[in-house]
Structures are given as C-alpha cells and as structure tokens.
Symmetry: C2
Subunit: 383 residues, 2 copies
C-alpha cells in the first residue's frame, strides 16, 4: 500500500509553504529559499511527467537531487519521521479521513509516541492503550474489594441484630402487648437474615464475578500483543536505519561527483571524463539503493500499521466489554439493594399487625384470670 501517490502530491503542487516552520535560524534562510523553489519545480516536473511510463523512476531520481535537504540538520522539514514512524507534514496532502469517523476509535488516535513530560523518553501510543487495559483490570479488582468491604459490614450488622433479637429484655411482658413485643424481637432476627442474605448474594453475584472476570490469562494476552507490536516497531527502526545509511551514502557520492565536476572545469587535476562518468554511475546506484531502502521501510511500516489497527481494535472491544460487564454487575448490586429494602419492609408488617391488635382489656382479662386471688367480695360479718 502506498500512502502517498504522485497524483495527490501533484494535486498539492500549487500549495503554499505554510508547512515550513517560521522559526528557522537565519543562517539557514537562504538554503530554505532555494529549497522551496526546488520543491515547487520538482512538483511541476512530477506533475508533468508522472504518468509517462518509464519516466517515473527517472523523475524520482532527479527530484531526489533537487529536493534533497540537509535534513540531518533540520529533519522536521521533510515528511515527518519521528522515532522511525513517518507522518505527513502538516498541511501537506489532502485532509486525512479518520479510519472510523465519529467513533473516537483507538485506531485513529494513537499512532504517535507520547513524550514523557519530564524527560526525553517517550512511550508508544500502543503502550498507552495497553496501560489503559491494565488499569481497567486494576479498577475491577478494586471494585471487588469495595464490595467485599460492604459484605463485611453487612455481616457485622446482621450478627448484631441477630444477637439483640435473642435478648431476654422485657421477656415477661404478657398478653397482646407481650405478643407484639415478641414479634418485634423476632422481626429483628428476620431483618438480620435479610442482611445476611444480601451479603451472601453480594458475594456470589457481584464480588466474585468482579474478581474472576478475565482471569490471569488476560494479562498474558496483553503481554503477547505488547511483544508483537514492539517487535514490528523494532523492525521498522532497523529499516529506518537502513534508509539513513543509504541516504548518507548517496550524499557522499553526490558530493564526490560535484567535487570531481568542479575540478574538471578548472582543470585542477588530471581527472578524465571517464572518472566523472564513474562517479556519476556510483551516484545513481546510491540513489537506487536509497529507493530500495525506502520501499522496504514503507513495507515494514505498512505491516506495523495493519497490526496496529487490528490490535487496537481488539483493545477497544475489550474496553467496551469491560465497561458493559461492570455496568451489568453494578446493576445487580442496586437490584440486590432494592430487594433488601423491600424484604426489610415486609419484616415490619407482622409487628404492625400485632401492635394494632394490642388490647388492654384483653390483656387485663388474661392477667386477671391467671392471677386473681378470689372471685367473691367480702360481706358483712354476721352476728
């Protein structure tokens, strides 16, 4: 896949120089002016001759000579290669369409490396995505821990209520009031059971799933992705090194040719036309080598690109699944809370019922029947 075709370069031939940075050191100003002209000229040539078979290679060779810049000194002025990855110059080429517009997809936003704000090291965009996944796993673990803490609190509460429900306090209250009181104590025990049930369900339906979701294999899988992408990056780095080496070799050959040509003109040495032809041939060969290295580089970058797209989409999917899974289980938590409150409410009802039935007259009857000392009243003593 060629990311940059002659046609769209040509389409930009008339483009302005807004991509050239403003803050160029003054000693380079002249060089930059020359180069700007050269670039425009090259673009014209490319446009004119691009589609003629056989011409393309010649033109490319030629344009190399024209638009070659001492890029080792000011690398930003060429199509950006940062950390061996090549990006378009700002403003150059048509606006890039997102691979997945309106989706804020990982595959559109993590191509560049992230600079470490404190130092000079940087981290691959893919690494940022990976860290996100690892953090997600950590979040899941912490949520499980939180639920565990709630479980402990509920168990403690249940234990305390249960213990209190067995209290003998006011055990001796009798009659309808005594019944209501007994039921009140029993309802405390029932409440305890409700909270115990709640804590058990929290454990099986929320805590445990949160803990076991994506077991140990998950981290292993992430590591696999990590290594795979890192390997491809390393390959890219080595291809880029090849390009740099070829570029330098070409520059050396060109310099040599230039020097020899000048020397011939001023009859400075006994170099013959033959020597110049040889130098020119070596220069051309160096140019071909460079093109070959650039092709290899581009192929490797393509491979890395494809893998990046596939893998970042996988991570994106994993994140969607993680969020949905957590959402589902937290909803289970709130469902259990609702249930618990409803059960709790129903535990109070028998107490209400019996309290409504409290009847002092009934209680007096029961108590008097049990405790009366006589059923007759005193009478006058007889003579």
């Amino acid at each position: 896949m060629s990311l940059k075709t002659p046609s769209f370069v040509a389409a930009n031939m008339a483009g302005n120089d807004s991509d050239i940075p403003q803050n160029i050191p003054s000693c380079w100003q002249q060089t930059v002016q020359t180069w700007k002209f050269s670039r425009r000229l090259t673009k014209y040539i490319l446009f004119s001759f691009a589609d003629i078979p056989g011409v393309s290679l010649k033109i490319r060779r030629f344009s190399l000579q024209i638009i070659q810049m001492p890029h080792q000194i000011y690398p930003d002025l060429l199509p950006h290669t940062i950390n061996c990855v090549t990006f378009p110059l700002p403003g150059e080429g048509p606006e890039q369409q997102l691979l997945k517009p309106n989706e804020w997809s990982y595959c559109d936003y993590f191509w560049a490396d992230k600079k470490d704000p404190q130092g000079t090291t940087s981290v691959a965009g893919f690494e940022v995505l990976l860290q996100k996944q690892l953090k997600g796993k950590q979040m899941q673990k912490e949520m499980a821990e939180f639920i565990h803490e709630r479980i402990k609190i509920e168990e403690e509460y249940a234990k305390n209520l249960s213990k209190l429900s067995l209290s003998p306090l006011a055990l001796q209250e009798e009659g309808t009031l005594g019944e209501a009181w007994t039921q009140l104590k029993k309802s405390l025990h029932d409440e305890a059971e409700v909270h115990l049930k709640f804590s058990n369900k929290l454990h099986t339906e929320v805590e445990k799933p949160l803990l076991t979701f994506r077991g140990d294999n998950f981290k292993k899988d992430l590591k696999k992705y990590d290594h795979h992408i890192a390997d491809l990056r390393k390959q890219l780095m080595s291809r880029y090194a090849g390009v740099e080496k070829a570029r330098k070799a070409l520059a050396d050959r060109q310099k040599d040719l230039e020097v020899k040509t000048q020397q011939l003109e001023i009859k400075l040495s006994n170099k013959t036309e033959e020597d110049i032809k040889k130098a020119r041939r070596k220069s051309t060969q160096a140019g071909d080598d460079l093109m070959r290295c650039v092709d290899l580089y581009n192929q490797t970058q393509c491979k890395w690109f494809e893998e990046m797209v596939t893998t970042s989409m996988e991570l994106e999917k994993l994140e969607v699944e993680r969020i949905e899974w957590i959402q589902q289980h937290l909803r289970q938590y709130t469902t259990l809370r609702h249930e618990t409150d409803m059960f709790n409410q129903s535990m109070v009802e028998p107490v209400d019922q019996l309290l409504q039935n409290v009847d002092p007259s009934k209680d007096r009857e029961l108590w008097v029947k049990e405790n009366k000392t006589s059923e007759v009243r005193p009478v006058d003593m007889d003579i």
Copy 2:
C-alpha cells in the same frame, strides 16, 4: 352499708346445707347436727319476727345463743373470715353480681389474700396488683434498654458505611462508568446518613419517652397507695381482734349462766334467783358488746372495701394507660423502620440512573480526547 340483710338471710331459710364441708372430723358430727338444726330454727324465727319493730334486737340476741358455734375450733363453718376479711360461705346468699361484669376488673378479683405456695405466709390481693404495676415499670425500662441497643447497632453500621464511602478504591475509573461508581460510593454515604437519622429518631421518639414515662414519682405514688390500704387492713385486724375478744367474753358469760342455772335446779348451792338474774344480765350485756364490736368491724371493713375499689380501679387505669402508651411508641418504632427503608430505597435511585447512562462509546470519546497521542496516521516515507 350492710352487706347481709335479714331479708336475704330469710330468703335462704329453706336453703340446704351444702355449704357445710363434707370432711368434718367424726368427733364434731353430733355438734354439727345440732348446729344445723339450730341454724334452721333461727332462720325461721328471724323470718317470722324480722320486721316487727323492737323485735330485731331481741331475735338477734337470741339467735346468737342458738347459732353460736365453737368457731374458734372450726372457723370455716361460719361466714368465712380469713385473715380478718369476711367472705360469704360458698352457696350462701344469692350469687354475687360482679361490680363490673364482663370487664375482668381488678375490683372484682383481688379481695382474698394469695397464699405463698411454699409456706404459710400470704400476700394481700392488693399487693398482687401493686406488683403488677412495678413490673410494668420494669418492662418499660427493659424495652428502653432494648431500643438503646438497637441505636448502638445502627450507629455502628452507619459509621462503617460512611467510612467505606470515603474509600479511594477504583477512584481512577473515568467517564460515565466512573460517574456511576462515584455515585455508588456516595449512595453508601447517604445510606449511612439514613441509618444515623433513624438511630437519632429512635432515641428521641422511642427510647427517651420509654425511659421517662412515669418518672420517680410513680413509685412514690404506688407506695402511698400501698401504705394507705395496709393501714386500713391493720385497722380491720384490730377490729376483728375486738370481735374475737367479745365473742369469748360472751361464751364465758353464757357458760357461767348455764352452770348457775343447773346448780339452782339440783339445789347444789345456795345461789339465789338473784344470782341467776345477775348472770343473765351480764350475759345479755356481753351479747350487746359483741354486736357492737361486729358493727364496728363491719364499718371498718366497709371503709377498706371502698378504698380497695377506688384504688384498684386507679391501678387498672394506670395499666391501661401503660399498655396504650407503649403500643403508641412501639408503633412509632415501626413507622421509623418503614421510613428508613423507604429513604434507603430512594438512595439507590441516582445510582440506577447513572448506571443506565453508562456508555462505553462516550467513555472512549472522553478518554481518547484526553489521552490521544496523535490525530494523523503514518504515511509512506517519500523519496
């Protein structure tokens, strides 16, 4: 108030002897027979002469002589006087109507003393009523203690939930999922507040009232009643002692008269008619004394009776109030429970709402905007 008028004695003249216990020792059989006859005869006389003015006293005197029984030996055969309180013999007189029929009122069932099952001591019926009131006060105190224990449990629970709600676990979760998680933690804090509020209201609306209902004055008032009734009982005891003393004196005088009469008949001594007249006069006087003592006794018993009725009605009312008051405050308890469950339920709602809003796409957008490393994709390296 005379509890036993000649008219209703007379109405029973033809009554049977079913009131006489069956298990009379054989040595008393003959005496009992004589007495049964005498009783019938007396009733006949009383019936016949009861309404003739001036006759009543004579008849009463006469009947005393007839129906006098060695009651000191077998007291149960006279209208029951137990511990100085006089009860009708079973079966004698018309069926007593309850002062407050169908109400199981204290004033109908606590006239007799209660025998201590283990020993020979006994406790006044009124004492049983008093103990009931004291026990009621104890019950109220124990219920307050129970509520206090619940308050402590609720405060502990609230404290634990509140502490957990401040936990930094999974604090780093972001986006819509992070918001839902934050709300979940906040709802825990809100739940804690609900339980704290519950415990505070339990304290002011249930525990404190239960503790302070009928303060220290209550026991003092009960003591007053106790002493007042006990004093009247003591008076009754001393009146009864007076009756016994007069009864004995009469028996002695009658014996003396009998002996003197016999001696005259067999000309055993030089006793004159004059001596017999004197003996008879003393006998009659002793009879009058006895009647006076009996009247005093009956008046005192009346006074005690009236106070008993008034005071036991007061205790009955206090018990009704106590039961209703406790019922009211336990209903307050269940009301607070209902409220608490409802508030608790409403605390979960914002969490449900935010969980419903959890949106993996939105979260990806937010995260990518924040963390993206580039907005352009790599392109082919140019020549």
